[in-house]
Every structure is written in C-alpha cells, then in structure tokens.
C-alpha cells in the first residue's frame, strides 16, 4: 500500500515539476534584477552612512521595548572606582511570572505570605533516652490529622486489618520536642493491638 502511495506521489511530482521549474526560473531571473538593484542600493546607502543590515523601525521598537524591560534598579552597573566599570551579568526580563508559575502554571492557591508562619521544631541535640516527666501517655488517644503518624489509632480506621503489631520506629516527635522511647515502652490497648516503638541502635 505504501509503495502505491509513493507511486502516486511520484506521478504528482512529475506533474508538478514543470511548474516548479518555471517558478524557479522566473524567480531566478527576478532575483538577478533584485541583486543588481540591491547592489546599487547598498552602494547608495553606504555613502549615506547606512547599510542594508540596518534595523527596520520594527526592530528598533523591539530593542526599545527590551531595553525598557531590562533595566530594573538592581541591574544598574556597580562602580568600585571611577576607572573600573563592573557590568552586572544579564538578567532575564521579569515578565511578572514567578518560577512556580512558569513550571506549574498560575497558582490557584493562596500566597504563602498570607499563611501563618511555619514553626520548625528544634533539631535533636543528643540521643540519650529521656524519661517522661509525668505518666501521661506519649501517644494521644484522639487521632488528629495535624499530629504525627504515631498517634493514629488503627482501631478507628474504616479499613479493617489483620495487623496486630505496629512498628513505628525510634523517633517519635511530639509537642515540645522530640524523644526516644525505650524498647520496653510497649503498649497494648483494649483491642489487643500491640504498639512497639522499635529498637534503639545505641
């Protein structure tokens, strides 16, 4: 089938070839006259201090637009001394588009500046085991989305599972700092699910 398509194209090209050659010949002759005309034009322009490569009015407008955009106050040249001029590197024009907008499109979320400042927890400075000051349980009973994963009660989950033991790990963040829980801190709730906090590698 493809070969028939090519055969058809070949016939079309044979039909179109004379027309193409006529157009080519006419353009070649026209081009010769054009070359002669532009040759003399370039000579005249040369003696008037211009050339054929000069910018057209549209090009000048584009340059003006670019210059207008590319001169924000931060890109002014900085002079250490009067003799030495340090030119700042080229800065792309700011098109009112942030990097996030360029990558992900225009945002549909609120600006981060409107949100409450994020309070980062201080890093863990040492790794010794800290005993709780009181007897309050370290894992809250009420699940909350803002609280860490270790506080989720799997019995409240709508998905029923056969898992009876959950290994959460050594690091359990909570409000007011971080702590490590001993291997002995195993809890068994009413449903018989055992929660262990993993081993310490000290």
């Amino acid at each position: 089938m493809a070969i028939l398509k090519n055969v058809g194209k070949g016939i079309l090209y044979i039909i179109a070839l004379p027309f193409f050659l006529i157009v080519l010949a006419l353009t070649a002759v026209m081009g010769l006259f054009l070359l002669i005309f532009m040759f003399f034009k370039s000579i005249i322009l040369f003696f008037t201090g211009r050339s054929l490569d000069d910018d057209l009015p549209e090009d000048i407008q584009v340059k003006e637009l670019r210059n207008g955009r590319n001169v924000p106050p931060t890109t002014e040249p900085v002079q250490d001394s009067q003799d030495e001029l340090i030119v700042q590197p080229y800065v792309a024009p700011a098109n009112n588009t942030t990097i996030e907008e360029a990558v992900f499109g225009h945002p549909t979320y609120e600006s981060p500046t409107n949100e409450e400042p994020v309070v980062e927890e201080p890093p863990v400075e040492d790794s010794f085991v800290e005993e709780p000051e009181d007897d309050t349980p370290t894992t809250p009973d009420v699940p909350n989305q803002e609280e860490p994963l270790s506080s989720i009660d799997i019995n409240d989950s709508p998905v029923q599972s056969d898992v009876t033991e959950i290994d959460i790990g050594q690091y359990v963040p909570h409000t007011g700092g971080s702590r490590f829980i001993d291997e002995e801190d195993e809890e068994e709730d009413d449903s018989g699910v055992t929660i262990s906090y993993g081993d310490e590698d000290d």
Binding site: Y13, I14, T27
Partner: protein
C-alpha cells in the same frame, strides 16, 4: 487497430512488459523520494525566516497580517541578497572571464567534444541506432557509436575553467533562489497561522492558564 487488438502476447513479451512495469514503478518511487527530499529541504530553508520575525511578533510590535508580510518580505530580500551575492558574483566573474578570453582567442562552444568541456566525457552518437525502412516503423538495430573518449585538449583550457565554475555557481545561486521561494511560502504560512487562525487554535484551557485569575473562571463563579 483491429490487428493491434488481436496481437497475442507470448510468454517472453509478458516478461518484458512485467519488467518494464516494475522499472516504471521503481522510477516513480525514486521520483517520489526525490520530491520528498526537496520538500524537506525547502521546509528547512523556510524555517530560517522564523529567526527574523520572532522578536517583532512575540513583543507585540506587529499585530496584523499585512504588516507582518511586509516586514518579513523585507527581511527575506535582505537574507536573499546576503546569500546570493557571492554565487552571483562568481557566476558573473566567470562569464566575464569567458567573454574576454573568447574575444582574444576566438569564440568556441564551451561544451563541444572537440575542443571544449565535452572532451572530458564519453559521448555516444544515438542517431545511428534506429534503422528506418522506407515503409513502416523504425526498429532498434544498432548500439550507439562512441564518438569521444575522455581526453585533455590544450586548447580547451578556457572551457575547463569556465564550465565547472559556472555550473557550481549557478547551482549555488539556484539553491539560494529555492530558499527564497521556501521563505516566501513560510511567510504566507506563518501569517495565516499567527493572525488568521488564532480563533481556531483558541482553547479555553489555554486562556485560563494565561490569566492568573482562578476566581473568574465560570466553574467557580457558578459555585
């Protein structure tokens, strides 16, 4: 006519017809591929005009088809002048050289096979291959006779200089003319695509992405 219809083809004739048909198909396929190559080259040549018109369109200096075509044609002619002046100059120089030398040593056909560029090629005489009886159709009977083998003639040095230079520069010039045509085609295509078909390529999704106002979208205003 009736006699032609009653012609019975032998097995040998059928084979010859089959071979000729296969050769014809191969020839057409070859021509199709050559045409495809020329089309590809012209598209590649035409795309060079994009570099010259991108700035004025992207920055909004040109906003209509008429101004775009006028600007692009000016640029196209300047590009053509830059590309074609060297081959045209070489061609003109070779022609002037040939005219001057021919006026000194006498004019000769630069392509003949006696003291021209044709001395460098095999040349056959095809006029002797057909014997034409007094009545009836001519029949192919003889092989063409070889009338020239490649050899160098000292008197043909003008042709040896002029003909290759002229052929190369003329081919070069024709390629630039082809590029000129290709750029013209690309200009008309771009003008149609940028300014005429804008509404056809319009999608609401694209408009939504380009305007940072999600609250203005109908889906949210309806809610």
């Amino acid at each position: 006519m009736i006699n032609l219809m009653l012609i019975k083809l032998t097995e040998n004739d059928k084979r010859i017809i089959f071979v000729l048909l296969a050769v014809l198909i191969l020839l057409l396929v070859l021509i199709a591929y050559i045409g495809f190559l020329v089309t590809k080259v012209m598209k590649w040549q035409g795309k060079k005009i994009n570099n010259y018109v991108t700035d004025v369109v992207v920055n909004g200096v040109i906003t209509n088809e008429k101004d775009f075509k006028r600007y692009a044609k000016k640029k196209n002619l300047v590009v053509f002048y830059r590309q074609a002046r060297l081959p045209a100059l070489i061609l003109a120089a070779s022609i002037i050289f040939f005219v001057i030398v021919s006026s000194i040593f006498g004019f000769k056909n630069p392509f003949n096979y006696e003291d021209g560029f044709g001395t460098l090629f095999f040349i056959w005489d095809f006029s002797t291959i057909i014997t034409k009886p007094e009545s009836g159709v001519g029949v192919l009977l003889n092989w063409p006779t070889l009338i020239n083998s490649p050899h160098i003639v000292k008197e043909a040095w003008i042709s040896y200089v002029f003909v290759p230079v002229a052929i190369i520069s003329a081919t070069w010039y024709l390629i630039t003319v082809q590029a000129l045509i290709a750029r013209y085609l690309q200009i008309s295509k771009l003008a149609q695509k940028i300014f005429t078909e804008q509404i056809e390529n319009f999608t609401y999704q694209g408009q939504q992405q380009s305007t940072p106002a999600p609250s203005d979208t109908p889906s949210e205003t309806q809610e």
